[in-house]
């Protein structure tokens, strides 16, 4: 077969690839997939550039755009999306800030907002929310998700936005409060994208098309079972079991199931790409001075593979 390496984080949001692998969609299209797991998104993006992996899914970050600008990486499709009808990322307030009146995003003015790094998706979400609310936010770079959770729990930052299962776990444990949905502020936000090396995008057309095809089939299965819930309870259970092989594997299934279900967000059908959202994000990165002015949409995206949503 055609050997390819796929980079992944052990997150529910990466399930489309896991499903495609487990259900043999990759194999059916002659792709011999090997997963490479990472602890963080940045090294995964760099690994595409170095040719260590062929395809991966990650948020559009300053690092990814820089690599694209250097002619090393290319976005070829969309994955996770915010959709007003479905479960999406949440805005959180720390217990202390909530008690002091931060009960809705409208009260964010003058508050501090957690993020990993300047140019991360947290940074983007925070600024968009702040823009809509006309609020002035102080961003705190804490580099590690664990550090942000710690800071939020102990009330050292006031707010944060994060994927639903972490949000609901924190909210459920009374360590923080959900005060809004990201989807309300950034409609149709293209959260993650499928990307590959510029070389693959340009010269390995057949392989890339096959990858995207299998990936979309996995996405459809996932959406039907856990997001749209159209496939019935048994299919949902099967899906949870499948995902559990990759995510929270060292936790018992009962504990893991809750997180997996809560973390299920819509993955674009056919890996369609929301071009408007990508352009919005790109111009935001430029306006913040995080990426070079000369970077264009075409440098970053090769939209010849999938349908684009406007």
């Amino acid at each position: 077969g055609n050997k390819i390496k796929v980079g992944a984080l052990r997150f529910t949001s990466h399930s489309a690839s896991f499903v495609a692998f487990e259900r043999g969609y990759f194999a059916d299209l002659g792709l011999d997939v090997e997963f490479k797991f990472f602890q963080a998104a940045t090294p995964m993006a760099v690994a595409i550039a170095s040719g260590d992996i062929d395809y991966a899914v990650t948020a559009i970050s300053g690092g990814l755009i820089s690599l694209a600008e250097k002619g090393a990486a290319k976005v070829i499709g969309g994955a996770l999306s915010e959709h007003p009808d479905y479960n999406g990322q949440k805005i959180l307030a720390s217990t202390a800030a909530f008690g002091a009146g931060l009960t809705s995003p409208g009260h964010l003015d003058g508050k501090s907002f957690g993020m990993t790094q300047a140019g991360s998706s947290f940074h983007y979400m925070g600024s968009q929310i702040a823009k809509k609310e006309g609020a002035d936010l102080h961003f705190k770079p804490l580099n590690k998700v664990g550090a942000i959770i710690g800071a939020l729990k102990s009330g050292q930052i006031d707010a944060w936005s994060i994927v639903p299962h972490i949000a609901s776990a924190l909210d459920g444990a009374g360590k923080a409060h959900i005060i809004g949905n990201v989807a309300d502020y950034i409609p149709n936000y293209q959260v993650t994208t499928v990307f590959t090396s510029a070389h693959n995008a340009a010269n390995e057309r057949a392989k890339t098309e096959n990858f995207l095809k299998a990936f979309s089939m996995g996405a459809t299965d996932f959406n039907d079972s856990l997001v749209r819930m159209t496939a019935g309870a048994q299919a949902a259970d099967e899906m949870v079991n499948l995902v559990h092989k990759y995510v929270y594997a060292d936790k018992p299934i009962e504990k893991a199931a809750r997180s997996i279900r809560a973390g299920a967000m819509l993955i674009n059908e056919g890996a369609a790409l929301n071009a408007t959202s990508v352009k919005d994000q790109l111009s935001w990165f430029k306006s913040e001075g995080l990426v070079k002015e000369r970077v264009s949409y075409e440098t970053v995206v090769d939209d010849s593979y999938v349908k684009t949503i406007m």
């Binding site: 980079g7 052990r10 490479k36 797991f37 990472f38 602890q39 963080a40 940045t42 090294p43 995964m44 760099v46 690994a47 550039a49 170095s50 260590d52 992996i53 690092g63 590690k144 998700v145 664990g146 550090a147 959770i149 710690g150 729990k153 102990s154 060292d250």
Partner: protein, 261 residues
């Protein structure tokens, strides 16, 4: 009137008393257990030691501990071997040659303070995401301290022994092998204590790059989920690894350096 002369000596020769070290650990752990149970140490601040122990035990029972540990030990072993090996060679060269000394000491001084985690993205490009990059990161981190301690050790080799050897017409190669190396050995071994501790520290940084398993990856994952029990379980493993390595070095020293007075 007749009395013994007053005693004024003693002291200033601390000896290790067996058991006190273990006692300190036991006390600290009991204290933490008490605090976390009584509630005046919040569960955000510190996990319960008993929970950490249970986590460790579960990890061992599931067999995952050995997966993590064997992978990490391999990385540590190969990385530290390469780094310390190259460090000893370069340290010897600096200790023996003026040109090397002049050219490399400033370079090493400039490389030493570079934070390895800052270079993570570059390590991916330079060495890929497989084991090579992990070896390289650990090797790079152990290299500079080993160089510094090795050339220090070579500088301290008794020059009168070298002059003696020259006066007997012994070749430079033999002098290096038979006098410089054994003479520098005590310094090199004590330098390795620090280098190997640094190698353990860097294990976590190395396993940030594309590592599924490994003690460092385990700690990182626990950290990103703010799972304190697992975080401390991982840290405990690293600590014990450090103590074990230090004991190994002591045994090697006792064997190799028996000639010391």
């Amino acid at each position: 009137m007749i009395r013994p002369v007053p005693f004024r000596g003693g002291g200033f020769r601390p000896k290790r008393i067996r058991g006190v070290g273990a006692l300190v650990f036991v006390c600290l752990i009991l204290f933490a257990e008490w605090g976390t149970r009584a509630g005046w140490i919040s569960n955000l601040t510190l996990p319960r030691p008993s929970d950490v122990a249970r986590t460790l035990f579960d990890l061992a029972a599931s067999g995952l501990l050995w997966t993590h540990l064997s992978l990490s030990l391999a990385r540590l072993g190969i990385g530290a071997f390469l780094g310390a090996g190259a460090g000893i060679v370069v340290g010897l060269m600096i200790g023996l040659s003026s040109v090397m000394r002049s050219g490399l000491i400033p370079l090493v001084a400039a490389l030493f303070p570079i934070p390895k985690i800052a270079l993570l993205p570059l390590f991916v490009i330079w060495f890929g995401i497989d084991e090579t990059s992990k070896y390289a990161l650990i090797a790079f981190g152990t290299f500079t301290p080993t160089v510094v301690s090795t050339y220090g050790a070579v500088d301290n080799v008794d020059r009168s022994l070298i002059r003696m050897a020259q006066s007997f017409g012994i070749s430079t190669k033999s002098i290096i092998r038979k006098i410089v190396l054994p003479g520098a050995m005590p310094g090199i071994l004590s330098g390795l204590r620090v280098s190997l501790a640094i190698a353990i520290i860097l294990l976590t940084a190395a396993e940030m790059i594309g590592a599924e398993y490994g003690v460092g990856a385990y700690i990182l994952e626990a950290g990103s989920l703010y799972d304190l029990e697992r975080l401390f379980a991982g840290v405990t493993i690293l600590s014990m690894l450090g103590v074990a390595l230090s004991i190994c070095l002591s045994l090697i020293e006792a064997r190799v350096l028996g000639w010391r007075v």
